[in-house]
Amino acid sequence: MNAWAQRVRQGDRRALARVLTWVENDTPEGRRALHDLFTATGRAHIVGITGPPGAGKSTLVAALARHLRQQRPQSRVGILAVDPSSPYTGGALLGDRVRLPADLVQDAGVFFRSMASRGAQGGLAPATQRAVQVLDAAGYDPIFVETVGAGQAEVDIMRLAHTVIVVQAPGLGDDIQAIKAGILEIAHILVVNKADRADAERTRRALEDMLRLGPGPDPTWTPPVLLTVATTGQGVPAVAEALAAHRQHLHRTGAWQRQDEARLAQALDAALRDALWQRWRATLPDEAYQAVLRALQRREISPAEAVARLLPPAPPPA
């Protein structure tokens, strides 16, 4: 294990921040660190937070982090907050830190990192999963991942997180909109935030009615619908309890293990695809590739024909 990975494992926050930058930029140092840290991953409870802009995702994450730190002072809470990159300039305004109060900013048991989506469409950034692995290896547990919050089904978080919290607020839309947005398909816990507003109860009933019509992502788990006022902390302990209950449920049913295995199977396939592609591409002279590409771009050949010209025929089965 190299020095940087060692420092991350030992709780050096400066090293953690630097390794996260490398991982985000997919540099050789970042790949090396991920390689060194991998055996220490797989322990943290990864919790996704999604929901429409303005529902209170960041404020709820901050309230949950504070509650968990008070409950278990020896625990360390990681937070990754994803905000969109501009499709025009590639820049991003990452503003989720505004919701992080002074005590949490200076709490050595909390690590908060903003990430720009950098062109990814599913509500996360291209490197979010790798950033989670780094925090995991550094001993952060739970790790909250706050999505961009486009409001519509953000499927990537479902693949990455053990538990998905969908945050709604009263008055953001009717139940048809909630069905359209696909929140029931991904939510393990539903939170109606800003519950001090008049129509919070109505929003809760609408969500509960919808839950009776069809199950959530896991037929063996009924998603609770919880009311919170994240700005005051009201209702936040119940969300923390629901998180703990869902974690237990995943362990009891073996789903934690199964999901982990499925995720790693996907990771292997993806790594193999990358490696095979790179190995093959290195054998192909660039002129040959460009010639076929230009023929395709002139619509002289189809993509299938282009592949047939570039790839050698598969060897006959032995």
């Binding site: 926050r13 997919d26 820049g91 305004l93 990452l94 830190r97 002074a102 690590f111 990192r113 291209p126």
Partner: protein
């Protein structure tokens, strides 16, 4: 997979002044210049700013100070950064800074000082130069 190196900038408002219009304009302009801007909001203590700079691993820290307390706040922020081993992170300051204070801030180690009306394009260009390590280290005209 992108290996393209994005410049990360922290824009923070230390102290107690109650409006952050200028800070937001700069944050927006830097975003439009292709940077990733971490915006922390109002009323940040020097320790909070330094801690955010550490966790976010930013390339540059930008402070907006309108209250007149820059000669108190800037040394505190620089000190908090040093305590965390972040001496190498350039700090730029914008706001209402009397001309006679500019050399004092520069002497403390501030890389650039901007007065009201500083062109945001210049700020973005300066940050790019600072990160590339090619910045001529002098204050821009306020």
């Amino acid at each position: 997979m992108t290996t393209d190196r994005k410049i990360r900038v922290l824009i923070a408002k230390p102290g107690l002044d109650g409006h952050d219009r200028g800070a937001k304009i700069v944050a927006r302009a830097l975003r439009d210049a292709g940077m990733e801007v971490i915006y922390t909001g109002l009323r940040q203590t020097p320790a909070m700013i330094a801690e955010a700079a550490l966790q976010e691993d930013v390339d540059v820290v930008g402070l907006s100070i309108l209250s007149g307390a820059h000669m108190t706040l800037v040394p505190q922020v620089l000190q908090a950064l040093r305590e965390r081993g972040l001496d190498d992170v350039p700090v730029i300051v914008g706001g209402i800074i009397p001309p006679q204070d500019v050399p004092k801030l520069r002497a403390l180690g501030v890389a650039k000082v901007y007065g009201p009306g500083a062109p945001t394009r210049q700020i973005a260009a300066d940050i790019q130069a600072l990160v590339r390590g090619t910045a001529p280290a002098e204050a821009s005209a306020p």
